[in-house]
């Protein structure tokens, strides 16, 4: 996978070949190599995101940006933050299926972080019930913003994912965190739930005990 810089250079290079696609009935011009999300944003068409950040590599984990595309005669549900634009692509940012997926994703996540303002706003838009699923003990929605920011922007890897599946969680690596985090904390404001801060403080407390 090329690094972000290489990708940007490739994108710049390919800007010569401009392509036209349709998003929600509106004709949108985009450069080859752009994602559907980037094309939509350039045309002021809103697609919700949770794990996306413009400074970070596309990640495709929260799936809240799922949209419907018509491509070569078939309709597919794809993640807008990853799906590359192509000539004559037809994109629908809202549909019955898309809304159903977003509603349930929000309900899954509200079981973790019912008071996250970002989730609450989206829940209102999509009619998601924050009490549909039993509350979970962890606030973290595992968007990975902190993990990826630390790895990609700060190049420190002070925080990472541990375990897999439903047991997955974020964890600070004490040896790195104790050296790096006090002077940084740039990942704090990225967190949509405040779980991160709690985890950090917890780790810190172990070290100052």
């Amino acid at each position: 996978m090329p690094g972000r810089e290489a990708r940007i250079i490739m994108g710049e290079h390919k800007k010569m070949s401009e392509i036209t696609l349709q998003i929600d009935g509106k004709e949108v011009k985009a450069a080859e190599g752009m994602t559907v999300l980037e094309a939509a944003q350039s045309a002021d068409i809103f697609i919700p995101t949770l794990c996306h950040h413009e400074k970070l590599e596309p990640y495709g984990a929260c799936r809240i940006c799922t949209v419907e595309v018509d491509v070569r005669g078939s309709t597919k549900l794809v993640a807008a933050c990853l799906y590359p634009v192509e000539q004559d692509l037809v994109v629908r940012t809202r549909s019955e299926k898309v809304d159903k997926i977003r509603k349930m994703i929000l309900e899954f996540l509200l079981a973790h972080a019912p008071y996250s303002p970002q989730l609450q706003d989206l829940a209102q838009e999509y009619g998601a019930d924050k009490d549909r699923f039993e509350k979970e003990s962890s606030f973290c929605i595992l968007c990975g913003l902190c993990v990826r920011y630390c790895a990609e922007v700060k190049k420190k890897n002070a925080v990472g994912f541990v375990e897999c599946g439903a047991r997955r969680e974020i964890s600070f690596i004490p040896e790195i965190a104790s050296k790096e985090c006090h002077s940084c904390m740039e990942c704090f404001p990225l967190c949509p739930t405040s779980y991160l801060q709690a985890a950090f403080v917890l780790t810190e407390s172990f070290y100052t005990r």
Binding site: M1, R63, L82, Y83, F108, G165, A166, R168
Partner: protein
């Protein structure tokens, strides 16, 4: 491939085929070993010979791994088109202790089950896929009359909870919630509406997950809901499983 590259074992967030750009950005082919096992035969004996065996759309033979409640367990090579009944009774030697067959489960934790009533179906990718049971890598789990299909499904989902990398929300959270509901149903704490909720979750998980694991994680659930829905209903209504329960 991500692991070989030294990265976390998570699916690549890309809409690019591995045959175009795979490991270290180079075209790569990733297949089951069992698929590769067909290649030397095709090269040595030719495609005409290979396609003369099997059915209209499923050519050649399949290596099946027979397991579960069957007399002869192990790997067998079967010509496509052989019926499931022949595989279970002629090749597999039938069900131990004279028990009746309940279902044949294909494709492991992301596969699906075929009930006894459809046992004359031929081994064929399309025929079995139509019934909700992908042949996959050829795992064929035979289940006798004492098996609870709800528990089998729960067992597979529990397995997938550990297999899911946990990166994307529909897979991680979908499996978590489906497993919770199934556990309740199995424990006699099922509620009205549980089946519909399971169907709704499996639809979202199947449509929106990042990789094939999440997209097919609800396979056993959907196929058992298709062929054994009454068993789920009985579990919920009577708070008891109609099948003689056996530890899995």
């Amino acid at each position: 491939m991500r692991s070989i590259e030294g990265n976390n074992p998570e699916p690549r967030p890309k809409y690019i085929r591995t045959s175009v750009s795979g490991i270290w950005g180079k075209p790569s082919v990733l297949n089951n070993v069992e698929t590769w096992a067909n290649v030397p035969l095709i090269i040595n004996k030719g495609s005409e010979w290979y396609t003369s065996i099997g059915t209209e759309r499923s050519k050649g033979t399949k290596l099946l791994s027979l397991s579960g409640n069957i007399v002869n367990t192990g790997v067998v090579e079967v010509t496509f088109g052989t019926t499931l009944r022949e595989i279970v009774y002629d090749i597999g030697g039938g069900i131990p202790k004279g028990k009746k067959l309940k279902a044949v489960h294909f494709g492991g934790p992301m596969g699906g089950s075929i009930p006894e009533s459809l046992l004359d179906t031929p081994l064929d990718f399309d025929e079995l896929a139509k019934l909700g049971a992908p042949i996959g890598a050829g795992s064929m789990l035979v289940l006798d009359e004492d098996t609870s299909m709800v528990d089998v499904t729960k067992y597979f989902l529990n397995f997938l909870t550990n297999e899911s990398c946990g990166k994307c929300v529909p897979c991680r959270e979908g499996i978590r919630q489906m497993l919770r509901i199934l556990t309740n149903i199995s424990d006699g704490k099922g509620r009205e509406g549980d089946i519909e909720l399971l169907e709704e979750i499996s639809e979202v998980t199947g449509a929106a997950s990042l990789c094939a694991l999440g997209k097919t994680a609800s396979g056993p659930l959907l196929s058992t809901l298709l062929h054994f829905r009454d068993e789920y209903e009985a579990n919920i209504e009577k708070k008891k499983c109609p099948a003689e329960k056996r530890e899995l």
